[in-house]
Symmetry: C2
Subunit: 431 residues, 2 copies
């Protein structure tokens, strides 16, 4: 591809949707990427930027330089511009802001003043708001002449004299209504209003819960200041869902495109925590080294107990973390959930106690050893069921993200209890 | 709540959005749920049904009976009706379909004939399609009189005489254009068209990739047959993201509201597979029981090697599974990804080899043991990095879902290699 003539490449890129050009830039190696940027040159479409992965975007932004970026930023909608600028480092951000026209710069700066991951950052400032006393005809005429509106929009917001939103009308309904009808006769006043400071996770939940397409954002006084549309929320939903998966796997989000050094560092921290918990489990084992020396079968079998507990706990934990994220699990049904997982732990504990007991008996021909591993299995799987529910619920209560911290706690507990129960029972009954 | 008077409860429910009523029904215990349904009775809003979790929805559907459901189904949009009916068992579905009016029944049956999880199932049959030769004025007049249209819509699709989609116009643009303008002058012809059979995961990817609000669905001949809107896609994105998380944690999706028996059964299967792999690891250990008998410190330390390998592999695996799901990882950049993970495995392998080596040396005061555990650590973490990438890529190639099967394979490999490397090296160098 990269060996062909520049003009061919140029033609190819021109035919692509911005999202596809973004993908192309991401998939290439660094050198090829610079090469492609040179070919595209001044024809670079600013709409490509919002589609790029953060790490790659930074690279491209650096390549373009502050002047070049500032020119491109102006062509973006305010929400895309804010998203782009907020991730840049202090210095570069200042340079870009300084190069923007006064009015546009104020809008961006105001958006940046809202907390990260809040509705204020997510919203678009270009809104279609009309007074409730207008008729459909007046509204349409206004929209035909006004050139300060977004290109396309889904809902028209109806405001009272204080600029508080009182209802909305889907564009399709405006189009179909008669000209003389007053807006407040056809508007829908069952509307979900989003406060500026609402966390983007809660915004996503509202959109999902009520199947919204767009929703008005208001400041503390109730004044309409912006609008959030469902396409921005799709990104948030993706991000949050991916976040939970990544956190539970012990990785930070923008991992794929990060360079080796950054990725290694991020992974190292998590593995370091894991090393500590593994050493803790080893200390428990070392308490029973005399027992293991006499019955070496214990060393052979002990990983089974720990591993089954860990996996049973992870199952429960996964359901808890996902249900908490989707707000399906709350204090109202927490007790029922814990109870259910406890019963499952008991049932599966006994079933696997029998299975492992039989395997152990056949393998080592020692009935006592089979009983010990069975008992340890029941204990560990019940503990796993309890901890798999109580740890995430507890962390959520203290407002710690259960997706990050739960699995370390959980496997530490199931390892320690697993080894302790199995080796402890063995020390009592086998010696 | 449930002790108060019926009329109060009725008032409360009436004031709720359908999505909130659905949540209320989900959060209640079974008995309270039936009680609430009795209070709501005939006032039950069919719009509540699409918001309910599958398990709870089945319960409510049974409670309502086929006649009751058939009446409610008619009030739903075709896509919601299909979603509701497709999950019911054969018998009940037949009964409900039989009770529907002929025309509506044909629409539902046709949708049900498309493969599950395809665009055909997801789409809505009510579309706004107008010929390209019309003017804006004709279009508006048609929409004012036609009562066969969806209540609200976002895009109007422009079709040629063969009913193939040739472009679209956002409703807001129709509203702002002059009456005499022809549709093909203002329409956008850079449109993403979705084939009927496309998998819903790919549909979601298209919406995400191009920031779509709605997209036309066509049958093989190219005829426009339906439309998919972003709110349906939000559900799919949620579902798919949750699916991957759940599968990697070894649980099936609709778990929270399932009863104990079903959940226990589903979890049992996964734990059974895990037991087999744990036994495999035990067999590896048993090969070295003579070595362990002589150096009991090996039994104390061996879980550390296995656990670090497992965790490092899970990190890599998580990135791979997520990137594959988001289509960020493909054959074009697979080699680069594997290479990167290999390097990370080598770097972190050496770092943790030094760390564990030092800990071992301080703990057991045996330099040889420290060297053995260090070497085993490097081997296992490099293997983890390789398997964490190659296993999911291989499964994807054979069209097996990497989220389900990868982690069993991976931990089996890291356990077996971890124990084998550590105990094998010990047998060679420590005896």
């Amino acid at each position: 591809l990269e060996e062909s003539r520049d003009s061919d490449v140029e033609d190819l890129v021109e035919g692509l949707h911005e999202a596809d050009t973004a993908d192309l830039l991401e998939i290439l190696g660094r050198d090829e990427r610079y090469r492609l940027m040179e070919v595209i040159g001044a024809g670079f479409d600013p709409e490509i930027l919002p589609y790029l992965d953060e790490t790659i975007r930074e690279e491209i932004v650096e390549w373009l330089g502050p002047k070049g970026i500032a020119k491109l930023v102006q062509e973006l909608d305010s929400d895309d511009a804010v998203e782009l600028v907020q991730d840049l480092d202090e210095d570069l951000r200042m340079h870009i802001l300084a190069a923007l026209p006064q009015a546009y710069r104020r809008v961006i700066e105001e958006s940046l003043s809202y907390p990260e991951d809040s509705a204020g950052r997510l919203m678009q400032r270009e809104i279609v708001a009309v007074p409730s006393v207008w008729t459909i005809g007046e509204t349409i005429d206004y929209m035909r002449v006004s050139d300060n509106l977004p290109d396309d929009f889904y809902d028209i917001f109806v405001v009272d004299p204080r600029h508080h939103p009182v209802g909305f009308i889907p564009a399709s309904r405006v189009m179909r209504a008669r000209r003389h009808v007053r807006l407040d006769e056809v508007m829908d006043d069952d509307m979900r209003i989003i406060p500026l400071e609402l966390d983007q996770e809660d915004v996503a939940h509202m959109f999902r819960q009520y199947g919204l397409i767009s929703a008005p954002v208001v400041e503390a006084s109730g004044r309409l200041v912006g609008v959030i549309t469902v396409d921005d929320v799709v990104d948030v939903i993706d991000e949050e869902a991916g976040d939970d998966l990544m956190k539970m796997g012990g990785v930070s989000e923008p991992d794929l495109y990060e360079d080796v050094t950054d990725t290694t560092k991020a992974r190292f921290t998590w593995l370091g925590v894991n090393l500590l918990t593994a050493v803790l489990a080893s200390i428990v084992i070392s308490l029973f080294d005399a027992t293991i020396e006499k019955v070496v079968a214990l060393a052979v079998l002990m990983p089974i107990v720990a591993s089954m507990g860990g996996n049973a706990g992870t199952q429960t934990l996964t359901v808890a973390v996902r249900s908490l994220a989707m707000k399906d699990l709350s204090e109202a049904n927490a007790a029922r959930f814990v109870g259910k997982e406890l019963i499952i732990g008991i049932i599966n504990g006994f079933l696997f106690a029998i299975l492992t007991g039989v395997v152990t008996w056949l393998w080592f021909d020692q009935a006592a050893l089979a009983l010990v591993i069975g008992a340890a299995m029941v204990i560990n799987m019940v503990v796993a069921g309890l901890c798999g529910t109580l740890i995430p619920l507890g962390l959520e209560k203290f407002e710690i993200d259960p997706a990050v911290a739960s699995s370390v706690f959980l496997t530490t507990v199931t390892d320690v209890i697993g080894f302790f129960a199995f080796l402890g029972l063995a020390a009592i009954f086998l010696l």
